[in-house]
């Protein structure tokens, strides 16, 4: 019975947090945002330990527009959703794609970035010839085309080892579509699978094209390249949004409005071009 105590306490803690949030009367003056700090250029940690990146700039700008005080903190990817629900912070901006599965647990603001997911391989290696480079395949609108392209890719990928970050849309994608052809190796961070691809432990990685492009810009990783088409939609989700508790609809409304304003006045596009060198802002 003793064992139940911590659980009960944790549950009471959750209830208390929610109650406080409600009794505050839904006027937000202070918002704490969690990011991962290891997913450049979305968010990363500078040599001095300071957080930087697209989402840090965007988060600060959104807070300014929402007229709230902003505090951005780093949180490991693995506990990022449970800690949001436990009330340790109010929002997640960590390159998190909006997916059906995540929507069961938390809420999201409107999309503030959309990039595809791709295979990364050694430059000029045997997998560099994966067919379909440059094509964009959508699993929601044209799944048949995507499946056909995957069959072509599997001819080259058969028996290879592919690295992916654990419990992400990318690992779900590999599990669903490539499990029969490749050996999947799961990593806690993308930086670790980048390293293992560069040093030859992996034949390929499956990753966001934007994160991969940022990696390739570093001198140690210039021997990597994008291969094959990029995938989006379906279980890969519609894009990246701010993760929020379901109990905070008013905060979602504030984020939605601020993001909408930034799309409308072109400042989101400017910020995207600054960090990604291409426009990843949603069109509407």
């Amino acid at each position: 019975m003793n064992m139940l105590k911590p659980l009960t306490l944790a549950a009471l803690g959750l209830v208390a947090t929610y109650t406080v949030a409600f009794t505050q009367g839904k006027t937000w003056t202070k918002v704490t945002i969690a990011t991962e700090g290891a997913y450049a250029p979305w968010n990363f940690t500078e040599a001095g330990g300071k957080l930087a990146g697209f989402e840090i700039d965007l988060g600060n700008e959104l807070c300014k527009r929402m007229k709230v005080e902003c505090n951005i903190i780093a949180q490991d990817w693995d506990g990022i959703i449970p800690a949001l629900q436990a009330g340790k912070y109010d929002a997640i901006m960590a390159g998190m794609n909006i997916t059906e599965k995540r929507l069961e647990t938390i809420n999201f603001s409107r999309v503030y970035g959309t990039g595809g997911q791709v295979f990364g391989v050694a430059r000029g290696g045997p997998l560099a010839a994966l067919p379909g480079l440059g094509a964009r395949l959508n699993l929601t609108t044209s799944e048949a085309d995507a499946l056909k392209a995957m069959e072509e890719m599997k001819k080259l990928l058969k028996g290879k080892t592919v690295g992916v970050q654990v419990s992400t849309i990318n690992s779900q994608f590999l599990d669903k579509y490539f499990k029969d052809a490749v050996t999947i190796k799961e990593y806690k961070t993308t930086e670790e699978h980048d390293l293992d691809l560069a040093n030859g432990r992996l034949d390929a990685i499956f990753v966001s094209i934007l994160a991969l492009n940022a990696t390739i810009e570093k001198p140690d990783f210039k021997n990597l390249q994008v291969a094959g088409p990029s995938f989006g939609g379906g279980l890969l989700g519609s894009g990246v949004g701010v993760g929020l508790r379901k109990a905070d609809p008013e905060l979602k409304a504030m984020f939605d409005k601020a993001i909408g304003d930034m799309i409308a006045d072109g400042s989101l596009k400017a910020l995207a071009v600054k960090w990604f060198k291409l426009d990843i802002s949603p069109q509407s």
Partner: protein, 240 residues
């Protein structure tokens, strides 16, 4: 408590038990030889042997295993010299990197336990053995080793338990042993409390089995500490 979830978690984590046990068994086995060699160096009295052994123990005991695993797995792989060497097929595998780190680590700790055991043998016993005309080998086998092992066992059982727990660090280099699988289940279900509770129970039962086995061994090695067993003759006398 959601018993069905606990049960499905248990089933998802159990396949990691053989990996945990294999990592422990292989590294403890090789590590023991390393420890014996290091202890012999430490006790040799020759500075050219004593100093390297002391330095080794100092470095591996003084740095976290986590750091050692990272250095061996990610660190070594960044040197093209290592990637082109004959060792690469071995160091390429996360599994062997974990074994290497665990072995080097337990070697350092166990060598100190072995050294303590050997040094605890009372000089009087050695003197008596010599007086009885035993050769060095016979003396080691009959007098020094049994006494040293008996002294070292409690400390060594601690080390075994620590090793079982240390294997959980292998999960950071893509090895899915107990902790790795637990982490995976937790990050998919967001139910950290239940999942790691189950993982903890598995470690607890593994270590329970180990402590029992060592206790049995200790019991067997120290007959002099137990009351003499009643002999049949004595029983008959009592009956009269």
């Amino acid at each position: 408590m959601d018993i069905a979830f606990l049960w499905s978690t248990l089933l998802a984590i159990l396949p990691g038990v053989p990996t945990t046990l294999k990592l422990t068994a292989i590294s403890v086995f090789i590590g023991l030889f390393l420890a014996l060699a290091l202890a012999a160096m430490r006790l040799s009295g020759h500075p050219l042997l004593v100093l390297p052994a002391r330095a080794y123990v100092f470095v591996f005991r003084g740095t976290p295993l986590l750091v050692q695993i990272y250095l061996i797995y990610y660190g070594l792989a960044q040197f093209s010299v290592v990637r082109e060497s004959l060792l690469w097929p071995f160091l390429r595998e996360a599994y062997w990197c974990a074994i290497l780190a665990l072995t080097l680590n337990t070697g350092a700790y166990a060598s100190e336990i072995v050294r303590g055991g050997l040094q605890s043998v009372p000089f009087g016993q050695i003197e008596a053995a010599r007086a009885a005309g035993m050769s060095r080998l016979v003396m080691f086998r009959r007098i020094v080793a049994p006494l040293a092992i008996r002294q070292a066992l409690p400390g060594y059982s601690n080390e075994l338990i620590l090793m079982i727990k240390s294997t959980s660090l292998a999960s950071i280099i893509t090895i899915f042993e107990i902790s790795g699988l637990a982490y995976k289940v937790a990050s998919e279900t967001y139910r950290y409390i239940e999942v790691f509770f189950v993982a903890g129970l598995i470690y607890l039962s593994l270590n329970f089995a180990i402590t029992r086995a060592i206790q049995a061994l200790e019991h067997w090695l120290s007959p002099h500490l137990r009351p003499a067993p009643a002999t049949p003759l004595l029983n008959e006398l009592k009956a009269v």
